[in-house]
Symmetry: C2
Subunit: 252 residues, 2 copies
């Protein structure tokens, strides 16, 4: 079972939820399994207000943070998990079945890292763009004849699995002496991606028609590589240097 402080490090993120009943249902399921941190990306304002002002709305819903974009919502997270059933789309990231997820979360939580668990909008789920910010896609093993779950029910199933099945050794809670470098936050990876993109453009590596596709592939690649924080710092320094040389070159 997870301790309270470990549960607090699991950041639940709803991307553009529409139905106020679903928002309330996700919040209720969080409370049922002891999770407290909710962020909501670009909600439809009238429904968001309605969900938060509903009678009996849990405190965690009233305290939920609102952000304009997904990268902002996951800025401080080191492991980013997207959810979905993915039956109609070929995934670009590693896919892990929910019932096999717990062992992958033990180490990050033991190291005290923040983990994001993202749920997409009711109608179509997370977009390809949203998913490109994720390290892992978590698939709930549903029946292929009826794969699409209600948002509140899908969230309840995920919270149950995490609360009941992650075993974090509380003895080993202090970082061990020979700890690996921690992973970079999602926003550090975004800074790096933007910088590399600027280099691509400056060098004309990336013609205008290819920019969106290259940006997408780059974001995926940076997450697939599992750079640690030191790698990311080094890469940032290196690409800043390249960019500076490129710009200086152009002006002399």
């Amino acid at each position: 079972m997870l301790t309270e402080s470990q549960r607090e490090r699991i950041q639940v993120i709803l991307v553009s939820p529409r139905n106020p009943l679903n928002i309330g249902a996700v919040a209720r399921a969080m409370a049922n399994f002891g999770f407290t941190r909710m962020r909501v990306v670009a909600p439809y304002e009238p429904h968001w207000r309605e969900a938060r002002s509903a009678v009996g709305a849990p405190q965690l819903l009233i305290d939920a943070q609102e952000t304009a974009s997904l990268p902002e919502a996951i800025r401080d997270c080191l492991l980013v998990l997207g959810t979905g059933t993915l039956t109609h789309r070929k995934p670009e990231q590693p896919v892990v079945r929910l019932d096999q997820l717990a062992p992958l979360m033990t180490e990050p939580l033991r190291r005290g890292e923040r983990v994001a668990l993202i749920f997409g909008p009711e109608k179509h789920g997370l977009t390809r763009e949203d998913l490109s910010y994720c390290h892992i896609l978590v698939e709930i093993p549903t029946d292929p004849r009826q794969p699409s779950m209600n948002l509140g029910q899908a969230a309840a199933v995920c919270f149950y699995e995490l609360a009941a099945r992650i075993q974090v050794d509380s003895v080993g809670l202090e970082p061990p002496q020979d700890a690996e470098e921690p992973a970079p936050t999602s926003s550090n990876l975004d800074v790096l991606a933007n910088l590399i993109e600027e280099v691509m453009t400056s060098t004309n590596y990336s013609p205008k028609t290819m920019q969106a596709a290259n940006r997408h592939d780059l974001r995926l690649m940076l997450r697939r590589l599992h750079l640690n924080a030191a790698d990311t710092r080094r890469a940032l320094g290196f690409f800043r240097r390249i960019l500076w040389r490129l710009k200086r070159g152009r002006h002399t």
Copy 2:
């Protein structure tokens, strides 16, 4: 993972559900995880009609059977599981946490037995009377500060756990040569309980003021004993004989 025919042997039972949205949510979660058999005990008729006639109601909801009582709904089941959070009540049966339930269901399903999974009404859950028909109480491990789950979400969590975690060896599906006697059905146990009660009354063992309490304790005891079908047949024969002697004695 369970095969289709194993899923068909899991009988989902809703006792007096009130909210048509919840009935629909349970049915949808069943379809998501491949379960098809629903029975509903004494539903509130207008809401039951509304749930079944809703746009997009899954076929399993349209096919659901309606019964007047819980014993009737579980008549052909050999293992009966009640669900709940049970925080306010001292349970009279063995309690198993949902995440530890799967191993207990392997054998019954391998033997081809029918298993009932019962959900109570939204407001107060299963009554003490309802629970006295259950062999095991299944508890979803929720946070003690917010233990009570929404019906549709609780059902989704249970179906997910059963679908993802029960491992029934499909090689050993034929009953082994040295198979144990199968368990009695719930309705066989009820026939036996009624007969024993009749004996209690006939012998003045059970005065009128104690009849309800004795009936309750007897039902619990018969389930706790794990009688097999042959035991039950023998006990039926024995108590029928006792009753016949008692009645004959009285009339001579």
